[in-house]
């Protein structure tokens, strides 16, 4: 059997059997499901429209378009009596000038009616307000503004305004990938420092080459991270599917295949670069504790775009965003962050990828050399001069 695969399998099994892994991997989705259930229940807990009433002082609702069965009261006294008798959870008071001011008052006892029910009443109210218009005009008014689509001159790429979701989704996708990457890197750092502390490296390197060793560890640990992330993704997608049964707010979600392709092209070299950095870090430090302290600093170099995400609204194509796009460790997340806000010029994506691949290649060449020299320094740190000497030395 291939030795890289053997190391990957060993590393994978060792980690997925850890109690902490099982707790985080299965505990988090359970927590997410519980939160989603609470959210769904709170918004749809009382789906019966008759539990919500209204007092129409404006006469707006005379047409009773699409009446989903909300209880109408002649005046607030009747409505209040029904509320006190717990016949309704609450009632709206539509003020006389509502058509002009939009003023609507919601009265409830101690528990606010669910968000889903309120949304249905909003829709009911809007349908009645535009009920006197021609049907096609009313339909346009209810549908809201048309989507604005921005295309490049040659029409090869476009950006549509899918609203907040269109901005947030690529961001979330980039963050998701970055998290998987950081998670693998963190596992790898622990694996390397463990190997150093356990003093197993001298035996292992007389069985496999440093490259096989590093590749096997990295492959096993990316498997661990992907197991975690895929499991969470399945839970999220399933959860969203369930949520979409109760609300149509998620109907506009569409993932850009162009973005997925670009992120996939960036992921592999970025992962190689992260592995190289973490291996060097793991070898340079004396023990796992020092490693964990330093890995936080390294993570910042990967997650830097998050700190500048407020710039997206004001200057998504500014020099800082371009710099972060071209900088190897921040390229993937910056592209994801900018994707929904602007059209990133193709040259930036290509140049960024070339720089990243060059850095990853250098890292893949340097890391085994530093590893070979530094892994046998049990309990000792490796100085910067030592790292430089290791890079220069033969093998």
């Amino acid at each position: 059997m291939n030795k890289t695969w053997l190391i990957a399998r060993q590393e994978y099994l060792k980690n997925v059997r850890r109690r902490s892994f099982l707790l985080v991997t299965f505990g988090l989705p359970v927590l997410m499901l519980v939160l989603m259930a609470i959210s769904v229940l709170s918004s749809t807990g009382t789906s019966d429209a008759s539990t919500l009433g209204y007092v129409d002082q404006s006469g707006t609702l005379f047409a009773k378009v699409d009446d989903p069965g909300f209880r109408a009261f002649a005046n607030t006294e009747e409505a209040t009596a029904a509320l006190e008798a717990e016949q309704v959870r609450g009632f709206y008071v539509i003020s006389p000038g509502c058509a002009g001011t939009g003023e609507v008052e919601l009265v409830y006892w101690d528990r606010q009616p669910g968000a889903g029910l309120q949304e249905r009443f909003d829709a009911f109210l809007k349908a009645n307000i535009v009920g006197s218009l021609a049907p096609d005009v009313a339909a346009r008014a209810l549908a809201g503004p048309e989507d604005l689509v921005v295309r490049t001159a040659d029409g090869s790429r476009e950006s549509d305004s899918a609203g907040l979701l269109g901005l947030v989704l690529p961001f979330a996708l980039g963050l998701f990938i970055s998290f998987a990457l950081m998670s693998s890197a963190s596992y790898l750092l622990r694996a390397v420092t463990d190997e150093k502390e356990n003093r197993t490296i001298e035996i292992v390197t007389t069985s496999v080459s440093p490259k096989e060793f590093i590749a096997g560890k990295a492959a096993g640990l990316v498997g661990v991270a992907l197991t975690q992330v895929v499991l969470w993704a399945v839970v999220i997608v399933a959860g969203l599917a369930v949520v979409s049964l109760f609300t149509d707010a998620l109907g506009g979600i569409a993932v850009s295949w162009g973005l997925i392709g670009v992120l996939a092209a960036f992921f592999v070299p970025l992962f190689v670069l992260a592995v190289a950095l973490v291996v060097i870090l793991g070898v340079v430090v004396a023990d796992a504790r020092q490693g964990q302290q330093l890995v936080g600093a390294v993570n910042v170099f990967f997650l830097l775009p998050l700190f500048f995400s407020p710039l997206l609204g004001s200057d998504p194509d500014g020099p800082l965003m371009v710099f972060l796009t071209l900088f190897p460790t921040t390229s993937l997340l910056t592209i994801a962050v900018r994707w929904g806000a602007t059209i990133i010029p193709l040259w930036q994506i290509i140049v960024s990828w070339v720089i990243l691949v060059a850095c990853a290649g250098s890292g893949f060449w340097i890391a085994p050399r530093v590893f070979r020299q530094g892994m046998l320094r049990y309990g000792k740190r490796m100085s910067l001069q030592g790292v430089v000497a290791a890079v220069r030395t033969r093998g």
Binding site: N198, R199, T200, E202, V204
Partner: protein, 322 residues
């Protein structure tokens, strides 16, 4: 003579300003136990690491089992390093099977080979325990299994008896002898000279990175022997021909002979002397321990003298400048 298992020629390695190994050469033959000796920090481990392709030499040549160390199959080598290490948070059986699979064995084969080994070294009952739960001696025996389970052609063991009680020391010694009897080569690095004397056919002694002694153990001992005999028995051992001095030592007698005297003439004289009953008569050869101390101490004195001369010359040069 068959192709050597290991050929080391003029090997040198520096770390920064420190010259760790300088011009070391030796050969190891198949089916022999070869002692790689030297004081702490002499360069033994660096030499081993270069042999095993963990470090690349600055100059010189290494040939392992007829090939370049980088090209020879690592599966043919078993290594017990001085810095012991096993994965501490994994059950013993899993660790040993994993290490064996890295040496080319399949899971099933590794498992079937492992059982008799575990039984032999009294670890079978502990196979499901995590390594960190085992005693130091048990971990040492487990490490020996990891070195030998894949039946390597070349075995390199650094301090194989460290942390073992006399019973287990004897067990490991037997195992080493079995490996040699099976035609494998064993390179052993240890400070336990009586074990070297008992096990090794040939040795190289490294000091300050240089090879200072190399050859067969019996020849080296003869070379270092003064012209003397050791004997045990009853009777009067004084006034013998060609004997310069007779003194009692460790329950026997140590007789210093004239420079060109033949010990056989002394034996004949004793055989004809009335009232003498001999239980032991042999040439007085120094132990390897004595030779080790003699050579290393002489090296240090020479080094100190050289440093002193250097300082004196520097001082004279300074005086001249002034």
């Amino acid at each position: 003579m068959s192709t050597p298992s290991v050929v080391v020629e003029h090997l040198s390695k520096s770390f920064g300003e420190t010259r760790a190994v300088e011009d070391v050469s030796f050969e190891v033959q198949p089916g022999e136990v070869f002692g790689l000796l030297g004081p702490n920090g002499a360069g033994k481990t660096t030499t081993i690491r270069m042999m095993l392709d963990i470090f690349k030499p600055d100059s010189g040549r290494v040939e392992i089992l007829g090939s370049d160390p980088a090209k020879v199959s690592k599966d043919r080598i078993g290594y017990l390093p001085e810095d012991r290490g096993l994965y501490k948070d994994i059950p013993l059986e899993q660790v040993l099977i994993f290490l064996a699979t890295l040496k080319g064995l399949g899971d099933g084969e590794a498992k079937s080979r492992l059982v008799p080994w575990l039984e032999r070294v009294d670890l079978y009952e502990h196979r499901r325990k995590k390594v960190q739960e085992l005693s130091k001696g048990m971990q040492q025996k487990a490490q020996v299994i990891a070195t030998l389970l894949h039946e390597p052609d070349l075995i390199v063991v650094d301090e194989p008896f460290a942390g073992l009680d006399p019973v287990n020391t004897r067990l490991i010694k037997e195992i080493i002898q079995e490996q040699v009897a099976a035609g494998r080569s064993v390179i052993m690095s240890t400070h336990q000279m009586y074990q070297v004397q008992a096990l090794c056919d040939r040795i190289v002694l490294i000091d300050h990175g240089r090879s200072v002694l190399y050859g067969r153990v019996d020849e080296i001992r003869r070379d270092f022997a003064a012209n003397a005999v050791v004997l045990e028995g009853e009777g009067d051992f004084s006034g013998l021909p060609h004997v310069l001095d007779a003194r009692q030592e460790d329950g026997g007698w140590h007789l210093s002979l004239e420079a060109e005297a033949d010990p056989q003439e002394v034996l004949r004289a004793l055989a004809t002397r009335p009232g003498v009953r001999l239980e032991r008569f042999e040439r007085a050869e120094p132990s390897l321990d004595d030779i080790f101390v003699t050579v290393v101490t002489a090296g240090r004195r020479a080094g100190a003298a050289q440093a002193g001369n250097g300082a004196a010359q520097a001082g004279r040069a300074r005086d001249d400048d002034e």
